[in-house]
């Protein structure tokens, strides 16, 4: 079947098998391999993308659900529109050593950006609770939490400008 949606700001039309998962569509058909698949039970969160502005696990979403929707993947995350700059949240992860192997990072970033967008003054406890659906095996989460707090603050500051 044919579906049309907005992918990282661009209108996109693709032919998909109805049983295709969004994560598979992104990786195998659209070559957007930044979205990672770390499990098969929707536990790890490496595949989080934004569907109409909300974070979802793309490994449990069927591709037909995208028809007419707006999808943002890690490849679409950026600083000022049109710039080559990193998103403030990406910058914060880099600055605060918020990643080690990097496999969980795309999902962490997408979740973190959504968290920060939803609530500007995040507390540490809220960040930890908000990241509950994203598993990292490398960092012990400490620097991820630090990064998300810093990234949220930077997003806020950018909004104020």
């Amino acid at each position: 079947m044919q579906i049309s949606f907005t992918l990282n700001g661009r209108p996109t039309t693709v032919d998909v098998e109805p049983a295709t998962l969004v994560a598979e569509l992104l990786r195998e058909q659209l070559n957007l391999t930044g979205t990672h698949i770390g499990c098969d039970t929707s536990q790890c969160g490496a595949c989080v993308v934004h569907l109409d502005g909300l974070p979802v696990k793309s490994c449990t979403l069927l591709a037909p659900a995208l028809d007419g929707a707006t999808l943002l993947t890690i490849e679409g995350l950026q600083g000022a529109p049109g710039s080559n700059l990193m998103h403030p949240m990406q910058e914060a992860f880099r600055e605060h050593h918020g990643l080690q192997c990097g496999f969980c990072t795309p999902g962490m970033l997408m979740t973190a950006v959504a968290l920060a967008a939803e609530k500007p003054d995040l507390t540490e406890a809220e960040v930890r609770h908000g990241l509950e659906g994203n598993i990292c095996r490398c960092t012990g989460y400490q620097n991820i939490v630090v990064s998300v707090m810093a990234g949220a603050a930077a997003m806020n500051a950018a909004k104020g400008e």
């Binding site: 990672h36 770390g38 499990c39 098969d40 039970t41 536990q43 790890c44 490496a46 050593h97 080690q100 192997c101 990097g102 496999f103 969980c104 540490e124 406890a125 960040v127 930890r128 609770h129 990241l131 509950e132 994203n134 598993i135 990292c136 095996r137 490398c138 960092t139 012990g140 989460y141 400490q142 620097n143 991820i144 939490v145």
Partner: protein, 701 residues
């Protein structure tokens, strides 16, 4: 030692759930899955055994006809007679039986591989999620598929976490490489998480009886440990080394115990093969020792910190020869302990405990003062212990004509930040800007033979090779400079990227020397080869011995049995710190992996069927962000005396020190109820049951 073969695909008998029986190649994963479902395997169900105690019983099902009682090897270390004599003289003997729970590594990237065959050159390329591509090339090429080394390229690019799980050669790698030639097409295989649970090598899984003999002042006289170690269904790459060579030699800990004896029976069971998992043998040793120290302290009425102090190796006693082979070169366990007591604000613990009590919660504090052996490994020492590989490392420093540098190194980065740390070393030593140094690893066609990354060895062994190779570059640079500056070589100094003649203002920059090496018009060609590229191999003379003091603080909710880790403090001696942020990151991650073992993670098998019950992230509880407090991590370093930069390694310390600290804290929180030991993981279910039993009146038992 019994070494039954481990075929790529099971031959006649399947020995664990996850043992590969067939392999389907198709155009798409969907087709391959359908193909696999069409395969009908005619199984005749045989009796199975998954538990250690059951596997060594006289009439237990036997995995291999020629391995009686399922015992792969019966290993011992230490002076048995001296230990027995000491026990006879003891004023007190503390005893402890414990289980070290089986773990599943769960790197976030599942294992994956692609194999390709080029008929024109008769060459194979295997891309694989490996921590040691050269070793895979050697094991698979030379020992499994009979592919000459020069016809096999193994590439392991950025890999999504390893923790040991990816430091073995796996059957899937061999099967797809074989298939790529057979079908004349690249073949790709990606494990699902569920597949990983039953095929990634597992970790830990010990059952141990330990006894500590003490004199009337609480001085340790002797330590005796008997362990059964689960190997699973076959021997994996490092398998039997882990519960023996990486376990027994650590039983001395940071203490002066004069006599130690350890017996380990390595046992086959119908479970996934067990191999190295972050810490590998050393967390198990630390857990036994640090737990029994607490048990002894409690039984003798001595404060837990005081009993540790009375037995600790003083700083000035280093180098210190233990009775279990290893000789610690340096350390200051007392310094780490003192630092941690302050950092953890132990003096106000009573106030915090009272505050918890007023909310109906039990608060406990737990210590782990520990040491580990890392920087794997001195090859001669390993050889004496029966290991069959050398564990040196290699590095090539290639200086380009314009002075930028490319490093080829035999270690493998899968999240440890080697590109940063190694580039820092080169940048500092050669005075080349950080951004002008590139680190290349993970490709057997680009990098000279190297042993990869595991056992906290990258900086300790790989960094040493890199340091040596860099020194060779400087030495050659001095020769070139001596020619260009017309001065004696001994008068050439190298500092901050400049070769200069001592006591003069005459100098040549590093870039000028590099240029001269590659355009040798004015060059001592009679005595010196052109070019500026040096290689070094480094084989360590000893292990390194990082360690420290970890203090965990927990709060137990008696209503639910939930244990909450409320504070965690680590003061570690990792030797020289090259990049503090990376070291802290390694410690954070390592500690949480140990906390995971202590509080959440458990690989559970069904005894009747041999099925893995904890076979998904739904059933196997991984630590999550909201399980943890902000940890306090500090270093208290003494310098390693035998590594070029004084480094000791930091990849595993966190995982080695933390399980004992956490469980000691849980036991402390519950000690007023008569609880003396808690097995891992201290889940709400386990704690709640313990509390129910503890609250029964003694007469009713």
């Amino acid at each position: 030692m019994k070494e039954p073969p481990f075929p790529m695909l099971a031959q006649g008998k399947v020995r664990f759930v996850g043992d590969m029986v067939a392999f389907v190649v198709a155009e798409t994963p969907e087709q391959a899955n359908v193909g696999a479902e069409l395969l009908k395997v005619d199984y005749e169900v045989l009796p199975s055994v998954v538990g250690l105690l059951e596997a060594v019983r006289p009439n237990a099902p036997q995995l291999f006809d020629d391995v009686p009682n399922n015992i792969c090897c019966d290993w011992e270390l230490g002076d048995k007679a001296a230990v027995e004599t000491a026990f006879k003289k003891a004023a007190h003997v503390a005893k402890l039986s414990l289980v070290n729970n089986r773990l599943i590594g769960n790197p976030m990237e599942p294992r994956a591989a692609i194999a390709e065959y080029e008929p024109g050159t008769d060459r194979f390329t295997l891309w694989t999620t490996s921590q040691f591509p050269h070793v895979v090339r050697f094991l698979m090429g030379a020992l499994v598929l009979n592919i000459p080394q020069h016809k096999l390229r193994v590439v392991a690019p950025d890999v999504g976490g390893g923790f040991g799980v990816k430091q073995f050669h796996y059957g899937e790698e061999a099967v797809i490489t074989w298939a790529a030639k057979r079908v004349r097409r690249p073949v790709k295989w990606v494990a699902s998480r569920s597949e990983g649970y039953v095929s990634d090598r597992h970790g830990r899984d010990h059952v141990t009886e330990a006894e500590l003999a003490l004199d009337e002042t609480g001085k340790f006289l002797a330590f005796r440990v008997n362990t059964l170690a689960n190997m699973g269904g076959y021997l994996s790459t490092f398998g039997p080394n882990i519960p023996t060579n990486l376990y027994g030699p650590l039983l001395g800990g940071v203490y002066t115990t004069p006599a130690i004896y350890c017996n380990v029976k390595v046992v086959f069971t119908n479970t996934v093969p067990v191999d190295a998992y972050r810490g590998a043998g050393r967390p198990e040793a630390t857990f036994v020792l640090e737990r029994i120290v607490d048990v002894a302290a409690s039984e003798m009425g001595i404060d837990r910190v005081e009993i540790r102090r009375r037995n600790m190796i003083p700083k000035e006693a280093y180098p210190y020869q233990t009775p279990v082979l290893v000789q610690y070169d340096s350390g200051d366990p007392m310094g780490c302990l003192d630092g941690a007591l302050v950092a953890a604000d132990v003096k106000n613990f009573g106030v915090r405990k009272a505050a918890s009590a007023s909310k109906g919660k039990f608060r406990g504090l737990g210590y782990s003062t520990y040491v580990e052996a890392c920087g794997l490994a001195p090859s001669r020492f390993a050889g004496r212990l029966g290991a069959r590989g050398g564990l040196y490392e290699s590095a090539t420093v290639r200086v380009h004509p314009t002075g930028q540098v490319t490093v080829m190194i035999g270690t493998h980065n899968h999240g440890q930040g080697h590109e940063t740390t190694f580039a820092q070393i080169v940048s500092e030593k050669l005075g080349v800007a950080f951004e002008n140094v590139d680190i290349v690893f993970g490709d057997t066609d680009r990098v000279q033979f190297g042993m990869g990354t595991y056992g906290s060895r990258s900086l300790v062994v790989g960094g040493a090779a890199l340091s040596k190779a860099t020194d060779k570059v400087i030495a050659k640079g001095k020769k070139i400079a001596s020619h260009l500056l017309e001065a004696a070589e001994v008068d050439i100094q190298f500092e901050a990227g400049k070769f200069s003649v001592a006591g003069t203002d005459r100098s040549k920059s590093f870039e000028e020397i590099a240029g001269a090496a590659y355009v040798p018009h004015n060059y001592p060609l009679e005595v010196l080869e052109p070019g500026l590229e040096e290689q070094a191999y480094y084989d360590p003379v000893n292990f390194t011995y990082p360690g420290g003091c970890h203090i965990a603080e927990v709060e137990v909710d008696p209503e639910t049995g939930t244990v909450t880790l409320v504070n965690y403090t680590a003061v570690d001696d990792v030797g020289t710190v090259i990049n503090p942020m990376i070291v802290e990151g390694q410690l954070h991650g390592g500690i949480v992996q140990g906390v995971g073992q202590a509080l959440f993670e458990n690989a559970v098998y069904d005894e009747g069927s041999g099925q893995l019950l904890s076979g998904s992230l739904m059933d196997y509880c991984m630590p999550r962000a909201d399980h943890l407090p902000m940890m306090k991590v500090e270093t208290h370093s003494t310098l390693c005396t035998h590594t070029p930069m004084g480094v000791k390694g930091c990849g595993e310390v966190g995982t080695i020190g933390s399980p004992a600290a956490v469980i000691n804290a849980v036991v402390d929180a519950l000690s007023h109820l008569g609880v003396t030991h808690v097995d891992m993981p201290a889940t709400p279910n386990r704690i709640w049951r313990l509390l129910q039993n503890a609250s029964l009146p003694v007469a009713a038992e």
